[in-house]
Symmetry: C2
Subunit: 312 residues, 2 copies
């Protein structure tokens, strides 16, 4: 939760993990508490709050502000998140997919031109946000950018969605952690096995730590994950011809090996014309891309349509 003033400066920010599986009522209660804390700590009168922008990790029907069949947060499907916050604060509320907001936040803080660009988040899952002609592109149903279930290997492992070889099943943070645990169990890496014994299970952060200590097996897993992501992005570069791809999410904490593997796969497979001016970088905002984008979205929407209030 971040509070911004009208100069687009963040005046308060709180980083707190929420378990979306606890459902919308419990999560929104904590979010509301943090917003009220921010208002108190900055001595802002709640009536001065002009708008709220919010990102959620699932597909959003933007016009209604409803989450549509969100895979990792089923209890939120159809829940009126917007109405809940409108009622609490009596202000305008705009809800979008979190990766869309990360793309917007990155664009607005970047000195480079990012009119047609992708923001790819590789965390527990994999998703992307699309900027098209300088604005968030949401597609016909608000589902655009959902690259986690693009097929990356016909003969790959089964995914939670029911298909096989989805990018998320091969290269996400969850897939990386699972592969590292298998490697530890198979005796392929002493370091991973040791970390696994100490903690009971492995996370993406553990694999990143092993990479930094030069562990061969961890290095191979991260590199293959980057190649898989790069292979899917290579096709999207041919199709969408963006001028910039930003990569964010917890994968960036494992170091630059992943980025190098992504770049290698894209330059190897995409058409030369499409990569001529293409920049592929890690997000410059680290964990703040999402809240930065939420602030921009709220300001843009507030001043894009004089009749917007009628929708509430």
């Amino acid at each position: 939760v971040a509070l911004s003033n009208a100069r687009n400066e963040i005046v308060a920010i709180y980083d707190q993990a929420l378990d979306v599986r606890s459902g919308p009522t419990a999560c929104l209660k904590e979010i509301i508490t943090l917003i009220r804390l921010g208002l108190r700590e900055t001595s802002i009168n709640p009536q001065q709050l002009v708008a709220i922008g919010m990102g959620v990790p699932g597909p959003v029907e933007y016009s209604s502000g409803l989450l549509i069949a969100p895979p990792i947060m089923p209890a939120w499907g159809g829940y009126a998140v917007r109405d809940h916050l409108v009622e609490e604060f009596g202000t305008q509320v705009f809800i979008d997919n979190e990766v869309n907001l990360m793309a917007l936040g990155e664009m607005w803080s970047s000195e480079a031109i990012m009119n047609n660009a992708l923001f790819v988040k590789v965390g527990t899952g994999i998703g992307s946000g699309i900027l098209c002609n300088g604005a968030i592109y949401r597609g016909a149903d608000g589902a655009a950018g959902d690259i986690g279930h693009v097929c990356a290997d016909e003969h790959g492992p089964r995914c939670s969605c029911g298909n096989t070889g989805c990018l998320e099943a091969l290269a996400s943070g969850a897939a990386i952690a699972a592969q590292a645990q298998e490697a530890a169990a198979a005796g392929k890496s002493e370091l991973l096995a040791q970390l696994c014994r100490e903690k009971g299970s492995l996370t993406l952060a553990d694999v990143g730590k092993a990479v930094k200590e030069g562990d061969q097996e961890a290095t191979r897993i991260i590199k293959e994950s980057g190649q898989r992501v790069g292979q899917v992005l290579a096709g999207l570069v041919n199709f969408f011809n963006p001028e910039r791809i930003m990569i964010g999410g917890s994968i960036t904490q494992t170091g630059y090996l992943f980025l190098a593997a992504v770049r290698h796969a894209i330059y190897n497979r995409s058409l030369p014309l499409s990569t001529r001016h293409l920049a592929i970088e890690y997000s410059q905002l680290e964990g703040q891309a999402g809240v930065s984008g939420a602030v921009i979205l709220a300001w843009q929407e507030l001043f894009s349509n004089p009749y917007a209030t009628a929708h509430l």
Copy 2:
């Protein structure tokens, strides 16, 4: 070559095959002859010609009207096609990739909503045109939509671009004809072998004919081609979430088997949210989508920028 009046009605149309490999000078000479023929036959004074729209089968840098490294027509790379026509007719000329124009033509003749849509041309090669928020989307370098070299099978055959398993090497008209010839040579189809003996080699049209006569091998080849195209489009549906996919090019003449295979692959692999309202159809304009789009482009550009003449 088609001539349109200001009511967007085609008043003359000429369908003549040109070999782009004969180079820009020879091709443009024939094109100019056809335009002059059309003007004579419709008794239109050449001075009434207000603009020319033209589609070419390669990537175009739209601002300059230059073809950039076009794979199947290398002699056209960097050739000033626009200047050539401007000099000849003293009018404004707008050049774009042909599949972009097909998408535009289809949108303007369709009664369905096509704000975010793809036009996929499967002929000798494979390409696509993208409509985004109701306009042609060209990407950062004018290369958007180039799906012919997206990887459809890591272990697939080598492509002319140097990579392996490109969609074009697996599922284009040229690939289909080559597969049919192999099948004929291997004795897998009596009908294909007979057609091959009669004509020396096979074309996509021959394979279509064999499908209509119930030939099993031809049916398998077309079906597999449709599955490959559908598999790549399934990923793009997740990414771009279009409301409509139109398929055109000579593949449509082989019948509805190809379309059924494309649909099957997309509905099987794309996310349910993205296919909820998705229509997948053959082009309704048959061979006229390109010229229809060229006319729309010319009118749009003519009245989009009062300073456009300054660019010529």
